[in-house]
Symmetry: C2
Subunit: 135 residues, 2 copies
DNA sequence: ATATGTGCAAATCCTTTGCATAGAA
DNA sequence: TTCTATGCAAAGGATTTGCACATAT
């Protein structure tokens, strides 16, 4: 979901996040378009943009956003976390050579059969990566 | 695939892995049954079993096994790597509370529609986690 | 006022690496 | 021999934490 900068404070408040200057900048960066960024990428871009932010604040904020559902955290490889600005249900292609992630719209993929959750459990989400290699 | 201890040396050789004492112990531990273990769990179990092994050897061996297709490495959470003794195509349930992984047989889940790979690319694998929470 | 957020540096945790020794072919 | 594996400790990289200061309600 693309969010106009003007709506960000309300968007954060609605998610239970106090909209501080740093959080608004991080949200503006991520929510500008559907994308996948690492914490270090976000930190660099903020600083390139002239902002004074600490690494700790970036990590704190991303963790908070993910917990509040403002963004989604992906475990792609295990080496570092990726933050996805698209919180709608969707899946991913991953190019194994470059590591690049591409969104798959939910209508590009459908299940014929899914296992029922074990007794006393329910689905909390489905994470799916289709790894790609060059032919 | 469950492998009898007696067949392990040949199994490793066929995969292009020189069967040393440490590697045989690690393979015996993992391939005894379908299971998911972390590097630290494997290290502890080997030492509990009276073996003298280094952390470096365990990590080297697991990485080698995964590269040679003897086991499969999973990125479940991003916090640590999980090693799956089941190399057949299959998917996983994950209990979000305990972190526990459960295999889903390929016939428990099927796709109605899958996206074609982008031009010049081909499928290298599908990784799928169904996250579960307590009702 | 009082709670919450931020920055900095240090600490932590998982994993890798360098190098000397030991083992396999 | 000659190549490869192992062990140890140190290094590396991502993320978290402790604490003093700043900001929000």
């Amino acid at each position: 979901m693309i969010v106009l900068a003007a709506d960000l404070p309300e968007r954060l408040k609605n998610s239970g996040v106090l909209p501080t200057a740093q959080r608004l900048r991080i949200a503006a960066l991520l929510l500008a378009s559907p994308q996948h960024l690492t914490a270090e990428q976000i930190l660099s871009r903020l600083r390139e943009g002239g902002m004074r932010v600490s690494k700790a604040t970036v990590y704190n904020t991303l963790k908070l956003f993910a917990a509040k559902g403002v963004i989604r955290q992906l475990a792609v490889n295990g080496d570092r976390a990726w933050f996805d600005s698209n919180t709608e249900p969707h899946y991913h292609f991953q190019d194994l050579e470059t590591g690049a992630l591409t969104d798959l719209a939910p209508n590009e993929l459908s299940f014929d059969k899914l296992p029922p959750p074990p007794p006393g459990m329910e689905y909390a989400g489905v994470e799916l990566f289709i790894r790609l290699r060059r032919v």
